[in-house]
Symmetry: C2
Subunit: 739 residues, 2 copies
Amino acid sequence: MAHMLLFVVAPVSAVIALLFAFIFYKKVMTLSEGTEKMVEIAEAVRQGAKAYIKQQYKIVAIFFVVAALFLAFLAFVLKVQSTWTPFAFLTGGFFSGLAGFIGMITATLASARTTNQARESLGRALKVAFRSGAVMGLVVVGLALVDISLWFIVLHIWLKNSLVTTTVTMLSFGMGASLQALFARVGGGIYTKAADVGADLVGKVEQNIPEDDPRNPATIADNVGDNVGDVAGMGADLYESYAGSILASAALGASAILLKYKALLSRPDLEKMAFNAVILPMVIAGVGILASILGIFLVRTKEGASQKQLLGALGIGVNISSLLIIIGSLAAVYFLLPGHLGIFGSIVVGLVVGLIIGKSVEYYTSDSFKPTREVADKAKTGEATVIIGGMASGMISTSIPVIAVAVGILGAFAFAGGFKEGNIIMGLYGIGVAAVGMLSTLGITLATDAYGPIADNAGGNAEMSGLPKEVRKRTDALDSLGNTTAATGKGFAIGSAALTALALLAAYIEEVKMGMHHVGLDRLPKFLVEKINEIGAIDKISIESFMEIFKINLMNPKVIVGVFLGAMMAFMFSGLTMKAVGRAASRMVDEVRRQFREIKGIWDGTAKPDYQSCVQISIQGAQKEMILPSSLAIVVPIATGVVLGVSGVMGLLIGALGSGFILAIFMANAGGTWDNAKKYIEQGNLGGKGSPAHKAGVVGDTVGDPLKDTSGPSLNILIKLMSMISIVVAGLTVGFSIL
Amino acid sequence: MAHMLLFVVAPVSAVIALLFAFIFYKKVMTLSEGTEKMVEIAEAVRQGAKAYIKQQYKIVAIFFVVAALFLAFLAFVLKVQSTWTPFAFLTGGFFSGLAGFIGMITATLASARTTNQARESLGRALKVAFRSGAVMGLVVVGLALVDISLWFIVLHIWLKNSLVTTTVTMLSFGMGASLQALFARVGGGIYTKAADVGADLVGKVEQNIPEDDPRNPATIADNVGDNVGDVAGMGADLYESYAGSILASAALGASAILLKYKALLSRPDLEKMAFNAVILPMVIAGVGILASILGIFLVRTKEGASQKQLLGALGIGVNISSLLIIIGSLAAVYFLLPGHLGIFGSIVVGLVVGLIIGKSVEYYTSDSFKPTREVADKAKTGEATVIIGGMASGMISTSIPVIAVAVGILGAFAFAGGFKEGNIIMGLYGIGVAAVGMLSTLGITLATDAYGPIADNAGGNAEMSGLPKEVRKRTDALDSLGNTTAATGKGFAIGSAALTALALLAAYIEEVKMGMHHVGLDRLPKFLVEKINEIGAIDKISIESFMEIFKINLMNPKVIVGVFLGAMMAFMFSGLTMKAVGRAASRMVDEVRRQFREIKGIWDGTAKPDYQSCVQISIQGAQKEMILPSSLAIVVPIATGVVLGVSGVMGLLIGALGSGFILAIFMANAGGTWDNAKKYIEQGNLGGKGSPAHKAGVVGDTVGDPLKDTSGPSLNILIKLMSMISIVVAGLTVGFSIL
């Protein structure tokens, strides 16, 4: 029963996380929102955000109902997958949306409170913003682990499904989370960047008024955007990453143990070992939650602390959490899989890779280092050179993360023993667990990530409610503080996406085998039945034999075609989302110009701009534009499976991963570089604000906006969503593909 | 002997091509270069181009000597490959450089003559420009096929090497051509874009003087750039594509027949069939040359023909050549491989795919269609939106080419019978032959491609020598005419790169087997020797068993890591070349600004700018900047092979192909769209020249310049060069890899 006791760590930590989230929320709520004007503005942003989310969920609900009906058709009519699939799918979507929603509501409630605290001191403002960010961090990890634990308890412990059936079924809950996350990122990303680009192009460039100026009609929409894009979008995104890494490794854990030992000997403790391998990722996640909460409490600052001291305080919280996680993981591996201590090595590899990527992101995007300064310097010769320079720098910046992930893959695989004969799946399990390790401190790293947009909104509130300049200065300091810590968070998100996608690719194989069971030998293609009879049973098919049966090698034209299509999907999807931002932003520009032209009183202060119409334009733009790219993400993997079969799907997924992963880093870093190059100029370098170099810098920043906040982050989800969808419809693919 | 007679088609057509090239050259030379001023300018451009090429070849020679010594070390000391390798490598590089050089010299001699004829009529100017383009087209195909035929005669017919040894050894000549092409494209691309961007940024944007204004110090450098980048670079590039497709299919042909039939029965005509399969691509190329020459003669126009009639004349030439090639290929397949008529289907598939890609390039980049007009429209809201719009459009435009190539791969593979059991290599041979078919009309399509830069230079000459406006109008018409026909040429170049790279990937397997022979069983790793003993002999290893032995499947972490690294290489390489252009362009901007500032007489016409110093800056920039990216392209595949072994290399190549192919289309189309969007505005739309929209359009065009003329085209070569290098050092990889 010792292992059963250890499993309890997962649901209990999850509940504790939710509890602390509630406590932090209550504490933040006790603070005042400030002056009447501040409350009014905060309320307007809140209403805008709620209006958006309501619209968003309406459309998403339609997608979910259709998808659930399709899954029910596959499960109940075609009988190619488990009947639990549609339900697990729906809960994944629901909780992912809920996590984003709670995070967003908290953020909209926290921004004016942060502004109000910033009137006193920087330290106080940090505390509110950070605690509010922690609400989101803890809600994301808490809800994810609650959902995972519950399904595990219901399917395996209560209903006594086998471990493999349980974990593979649970992957459909990951599909729900991914789909919700994609909508949140794409819709929210289009919303926020349409408003941002529109507000900047007319306000900053044409009219020369500062950011967040209350005379700009798009300014409320812009602030709403931070909440729906950066907060709600990021929440759903990381919920998906977190849940995905745990689910993928759990699914591999069962098969890894069963395949490894069933062939060798019938150990009496086989079931127990498999159980332990399945719960290990959940237990690590649970330990990570506890470590995160402790870390959050360690972020304390003295009154009047300097910016450097604040950064130090944040660093202490994150570092101690990481240290605790390392110790906790060692204990978890020691108790659960004493024969596989190498797995601990995989976890450490994951953490180190995440750290390296984070540092490289910081190096390539912070204006303290050469790359961003060089890009800023290019602004002297105009818009064209700053754009070329930023693109080039973004492309070059992909090398360190890719090499780090490459070495990490080999390392995690090797530590888990994957290079030993017949042990591949154990190595892949190691890769999955490395991703879990990387994301285990999400509770605190997400807190350091999420407080950035809160500080950003707090600054907007200060500007619009006409508070003294020093308040805005403090919120700006908070915002720029967030950029440094956010780089680490980004590193973990990017790195874990690659590793999780790989684990999902391996889990796909298990799901195809499960699909064979559902389809049944009498309905499977003849060549496959012959191979299965040769091997003995579906469950005895090793990874190696699977590769041979389905010819998943690099000379199979179906694999090659899949790779091409997958790589193309990453570009196509990015192009569509960028175009969507451009289109929505154009409409915003027209509306802002119209208001400046028609509402004469804006300039002399006798009339207020119509903020609401800009909010509506962003909402409608986002809703309309998110449908095509999202549908593509759903349809392409299903169509590829039906036409090209299993080998084509695996090619598709690796192609999308290879290209998409790198394209995502390129977009994130190019966008970050331009953003900070502009800020560097605004600090008074190269001519400072208002100089031609500054104008060029603003153009660079605007070009980078959709790259770093819409297309780039959506790609990480796209990669995993395509895997998840392929996994869920694997039965259809293996039973009924054409070629 | 019938097949021997058919082989003769190849060398004979090659010689005929060179003969006609010489005739065309002589005819063009009989024409006058025009006024004294015109001759002077033409001479300055000629001198600049020669100075560049001299410098370029000096550095390239060093690389070639080092590489040849390294190959000699592998061949003579480590004894892991054929001793012919270093020599074949050198001739490939030499002939590729020679083809580019002759084309460039012809172009520089033709431009003033084209201008002079344009003083009379558009039709006359077309004739000179097109005939000069034909010189390059015929020199490229002639030299390539001469070189290939000679090596084949020496190695196989004279020295009696086996077919497999001969064809696999000849691939190292492809490596020489690819390396030369990479230098030509990267160096030439940096040169031309540094000059172009530098000239435009100061001339057009800052000083508001027209393109090619003689007061602009960078104007000669800009015109030199068209010759060294667009002509010499394109010549070496297409020489490499053309030779690569023939060599790759020839290498597959021998193994395809031998592996297919040796296992089944010992047919008495086996050697003959294998011989026929090897010479088929050469014969198709020979037939294509004859068809091209005929097509070139069909391009005739009446005096005073309209632009539409001229386009029609060009179309007739290309279409009739294509038709002849289809008939000729059917005959060649019928006589050489009567049992494999499906191969003819593969060739037709290749031609159709090239055509579809060409049409899609035209659709996405011509201002007659919606995408480019939409991008132009975005210029109304400024630089940022035009950049976002062009990037998005470029990314979306990748879908049709990728789907066309995907269907083409499956089609060419299927027609060649690849889906039949144990027949994979035959299918891959089909893919290679499809690429040969696609490029077989290169003689004429390259002529329609190469006359564009000649017309461009002719326009520059007209502007600088102060000829009447109508002359410039005629050369501009010629230039824009070239854009339409060039789109088709680009489609063929892009499509063939993907198919050739795949064929090279397959050829890599043959080369690894050859490498095993060279290394010898006593030096090979133990696991490999065991497998070989199991199968019986190295030559009996089928593609399927090869995949299993080296675990070249999608769950092997070494393959996955290879895919990541390959995809990253495409981005890294593009980033480095873009950055190089940016850096060299900045130096050019500084120099032009300095001259405008210091040489007072430029503006009142009392002093001439120092053209030579700008030429020198471009030369030095290009020479310095091309070394790092080119070295990377050489080192990475070798290092990957040494560290990760065969499976890592194959992953690397497919990763580079998947990402690089799509990135190349994105860059080419985004750049083309921006270019034509700007031209669309210049035609008087959206405010016309001098409007804010025009300024935004110029920025877009400038951003697109390095994408479409430096990084993009270099990527196509990079993909194949990495394959070629891996092929040549395969013996090292299989004998001495670490992991």
